[in-house]
Symmetry: C2
Subunit: 329 residues, 2 copies
């Protein structure tokens, strides 16, 4: 399909501007710590989404560049801090910032990225009052991301987590930044109130679908697309929606529960043990449940695209939504 190629081109444009924006500051160590994640690449989904929405709403895709780069920098700042908190030592195949330097430097680099993002946001070519709307939505969004991260951290220490609160965590930790990207794109393009509202909601739903579909890939594996081997999330014990759902079904002691808990977080689990755990997830209907949920979020997201006039970019957003929940195959 054409989608990845066009997206890759747009992502490349974002890369260049991003590196230009991060060529800033006089303290070499801090500069290097700040660009460590951004320079490692990524799909730049948030800036690309902002660009597509602004183009679809009012042919102002290019004008989203500072805003989109600001969101990408914010995304990277949260990754730097998350890795410190989660003690994750690798990211995108490279050592985490706090491993390459130290924890204080990683905390400072995150803070500096966050500050830099707002300075870049100010470069957005919109009337001052629209800039106010952008600053406000970005700030409210980062607040929600912080809440989501706090929930995620606190879930780790708990025995059980419910499906509903898990989805709320996913929404705050991930989907809200997609929502902000789409909302900002619509604002920058001078969209109507309804377009701004609907595109925000569309991207929020999409973001949730995208993230929970990622949980499916983490268990069923998708080496081609993500490099994740089968059962990856089972071996590393990640609490995903599939696991949350399955453990809700298996509250009482039973052999299926034992089989699942035996493989979960067991890095040395054999392929057979992982296979048995996946069979349990199929019997509890958890893989099916999450797949259906992801598709349902995507369906609702696509409905909201009605607010946009027909355009190539509108079709691309629609394809992107399908792509994000594995419906492009």
């Amino acid at each position: 399909m054409e989608l990845p190629k066009r997206m890759a081109d747009m992502a490349k444009e974002v890369d260049e501007r991003l590196m230009h924006y991060l060529d800033y500051g006089k303290y070499p160590k801090l500069r290097k710590a700040m660009i460590h994640y951004p320079e490692a690449g990524g799909k730049r989904m948030r800036p690309v989404l902002a660009m597509l929405v602004a183009e679809a709403v009012g042919k102002r895709g290019k004008a989203t560049m500072p805003f989109g780069c600001a969101l990408e920098i914010i995304h990277n700042f949260t990754l730097v801090h998350d890795d410190v908190m989660d003690k994750d030592e690798m990211r995108r195949g490279r050592p985490a910032v706090h491993v390459l330097y130290d924890e204080p430097t990683a905390i400072i680099a995150g803070d500096a990225l966050f500050a830099r993002a707002y300075a870049i946001l100010c470069d957005t070519d919109v009337p001052g009052e629209d800039l106010r709307r952008l600053v406000r939505t970005v700030s409210e969004t980062v607040y929600l991301i912080a809440e989501g991260q706090q929930m995620d951290i606190d879930f780790e220490a708990r025995q059980t987590v419910g499906v509903e609160e898990y989805v709320l965590m996913v929404e705050e930790k991930t989907a809200v930044l997609f929502a902000c990207a789409a909302e900002g794109g619509a604002i920058i393009a001078g969209g109507t109130d309804q377009q701004v509202r609907d595109m925000k909601e569309c991207a929020r739903l999409w973001g949730i679908g995208f993230q929970i579909w990622d949980d499916v890939l983490g268990i069923l594996g998708d080496e081609k697309k993500t490099g994740k081997p089968v059962g990856n999330d089972i071996r590393n014990g990640k609490r995903t929606l599939i696991i949350v759902h399955a453990l809700e079904q298996l509250k009482r002691p039973c052999s299926d529960r034992d089989v699942l808990l035996n493989a979960l977080g067991n890095e040395k689990a054999s392929a057979e043990e992982v296979g048995e755990a996946i069979a349990v997830l199929e019997r509890t209907g958890s893989i099916d449940f999450v797949t259906k949920q992801a598709h349902e979020y995507a369906r609702k997201a696509k409905e909201l695209l009605q607010c946009l006039p027909p355009s190539e970019e509108k079709s691309m957003i629609s394809s992107l939504i399908d792509y994000a929940v594995g419906r492009d195959r």
Copy 2:
């Protein structure tokens, strides 16, 4: 003198608005972690400064409230993160956020405070284009604070630090936020370009003077004002400008150097040993050097007040500058 009373009244007004602004968010643990430092009080010097400048420039003191509270919140966010990095366990007589909760919660609470500050900033009653100026200067300021904190952390690992780079660190870590407060106050009050520029520079100079005078108090003691006992900074081994200057004078091995290093960072140093170390600092001219520097920064800061028309608030700013370098006695 009248100053503390009026300042205390203004600080109280700030307190109320601050608590109102931080009554936000749905996750109780995060909310509590966020207000832990702000509710412990403080002189609210940054919001008070913004208010005084705006009143002196154009009778718009009250209009600085959201901006001033945003700066106070940013100040508190940096304290939360600094305490994590420095492993400081107490702040304002209470356990640090990362001690009361844990490090991840402290990192998140800092990030959330930072995000919240920008949302509050958007409430400032100024034209959109002036909001753009405020967002830009706040962002550039926080970037400098991050650089200053990085320098401070890196200095700890070094044998020697020069006077010049130490002053640069103090400027970035502390003075720039004062500068931002005064600049923002002038912008909000519709000041001329010269007023905006001069008030920013005035507060920057003042901020450096204030901070290095604090170093003098930390060594000579000022129990009445700050509760710091004589030699406090000597016993805890804090690297202040006085120590930096003295060690520059005592590069070669000598008995004065031994006496100073014996007491420095030695929590069990006797009153006599501390007294001898202070005598060394007098012999190297370091206490005198820093005192003169502080007064010189204050003098230059006061010169810049020329850009303001006469007013009660202008006199208050002038008194505040004297107060901050111990010249009010």
